[in-house]
């Protein structure tokens, strides 16, 4: 099967995570990177590859702030291979590129990272202050890219774009807000067991319906919480096991496909988004089936995206995500598909994709403590991205 079998995840690390902690993004990144290197049993000298998403960007404020060159220089790394940028199969596309690099022999140990400091960037000025590339509302500001088609309509946020995907799903399949709420309630339930999660107090269905609306059908609890934090993983060549402190997590299959128009509003089926193609590719590269998955860590920038990942990955049929999550039992820690066991981005903090991969490894390594899925998971899936962005990995621990 695929070349990704030549890659393993040998180390994981995470910085302090919080709201408005006002630490420099490079400082957070170094903390996560050194933790991951230590966790793998490696040293800085062993790291010969570096990968990140989205690379260094000044805008939107807090969205990145640390690129390849910043971290290479800070850690004085001598690299054989590196890759950073925005145009990848979602946030985890950067990790998948690293898998290809080690499988091809370009590098042996690739440090992959994603850093956000959106909470500190917006400070006390609210979400809108960082949403429009820092230019919204400024006299003479002219948007480029996709934003030029949405800013004239007061639609600067992915909250608006994904809300329309959700509304279309509601229309075609009769999905309800009460069903969608389970994604948020489940995340909060699990966050209560994760000491690093940002929001840990219990959340009820009544709280959900009492929350202010953001962009229908999304209320506040359908939207993830901006955070400061950095996550790092080490992708190593599968034949490098002798270098490592512990048995690594194996990469079984990856999904990066995109076959529809790469756009938030022109995509042929808004109810699937690009997740459909990435997930289909993943299953085409393994003999494992959705039934074999013991734990699922699926992107929840907005609650609907998680529902769409569940459908795309075949945990239920297309359109049946609402009934599947209804009541929440199937996705609970002791359910059929334990989902977002760390609290996701909705309650754990918007670490932007990498948090799901980190948690998948935690679960496979049986390091989940209070939130550990039992019996010990052998197969985990991590998926990140929404709209026209999607990438996913199927992981095992032998």
């Amino acid at each position: 099967m695929g070349g990704e079998r030549g890659a393993v995840i040998s180390g994981i690390g995470q910085s302090q995570i919080g709201r408005r902690i006002y630490r420099a993004p490079l400082d957070l990144t170094i903390e996560a990177a050194l933790a991951a290197i230590e966790d793998a049993g490696l040293t800085r000298e062993d790291i010969d590859g570096l990968a990140t998403y989205p690379g260094n960007m000044d805008t939107p404020p807090g969205f990145s702030g640390v690129g390849i060159t910043d971290l290479q220089d800070a850690l004085r790394l001598e690299l054989d291979w590196y890759n950073g940028g925005l145009e990848q199969p979602g946030q985890l596309g950067s990790v998948i590129a690293a898998c290809a690099a080690v499988a091809a022999g370009y590098a042996r140990h690739v440090l992959c990272f994603r850093t956000v400091w959106e909470a500190s960037a917006q400070g006390d000025k609210g979400r809108a202050s960082v949403t429009m590339g820092g230019g919204g509302g400024r006299a003479g500001f002219r948007a480029g890219g996709f934003m030029q088609w949405t800013l004239p309509y007061g639609a600067p946020s992915a909250a608006n774009w994904i809300a329309m995907c959700a509304q279309r799903h509601f229309h075609e399949f009769g999905t309800t807000r009460e069903q969608l709420a389970q994604i948020a309630l489940n995340a909060r339930q699990n966050a209560g067991r994760n000491p690093k999660a940002i929001y840990r107090d219990p959340l009820t269905i009544d709280d959900y319906f009492a929350a202010r609306m953001i962009s229908s059908p999304f209320c506040l609890y359908d939207c993830d919480v901006p955070a400061d934090g950095s996550t790092a993983v080490i992708v190593s060549a599968a034949d490098a096991a002798a270098d490592l402190r512990q048995a690594p997590v194996a990469v079984e299959a990856i999904g990066t496909a995109i076959r529809g128009r790469p756009s938030w509003d022109q995509w042929d089926d808004l109810t699937t988004m690009a997740l459909r193609d990435a997930a289909a590719m993943l299953w085409s590269r393994t003999d494992l089936k959705p039934d074999d998955v013991d734990v699922a860590e699926l992107y929840d920038g907005f609650s609907f995206i998680t529902l769409a990942w569940l459908e795309a990955l075949g945990f239920c049929a297309h359109g049946e995500g609402g009934p599947f999550i209804e009541g929440g039992q199937r996705i609970a820690l002791d359910g059929q598909v334990p989902l977002n066991t760390h609290g996701g981005q909705l309650s754990g903090g918007r670490l932007h994709g990498y948090g799901f991969l980190h948690e998948a490894c935690v679960q496979l390594r049986r390091e989940g403590g209070n939130r550990q899925v039992a019996p010990t998971p052998k197969v985990a899936v991590a998926g990140a991205g929404g709209g026209p962005l999607a990438g996913c990995l199927l992981l095992t621990r032998r």
Binding site: P152, G154, S215
Partner: protein
């Protein structure tokens, strides 16, 4: 590739009622929609649905274009029409 004249008619493919104050000049609630143009069902515009109550907006409703002049640009907005 060249521009083509179209009727200005379309169908509302999906929408959202936005409640969050994102930008000056846009006072919530207002309706953001994706309209499929009558001439080609894979060409869509993100736009605003205007001249109706937000709660009256439905997926699948027929709409027609109405232009708003802002600075040096004519912005295509859409409003409901009877079936």
């Amino acid at each position: 590739m060249a521009p083509a004249v179209v009727s200005g008619r379309g169908t509302l493919h999906s929408f959202t009622i936005n409640h969050q104050p994102w930008m000056p000049g846009f006072d919530p609630p207002y309706v953001i929609g994706i309209v499929t143009i009558a001439e080609q069902d894979d060409v869509r515009l993100t736009t605003n649905i205007v001249n109706c109550e937000p709660d009256a907006v439905r997926v699948g409703m027929p709409v027609r274009v109405t232009f708003e002049h802002r600075e040096d640009v004519w912005i295509p907005l859409f409003e409901p029409v009877a079936d």
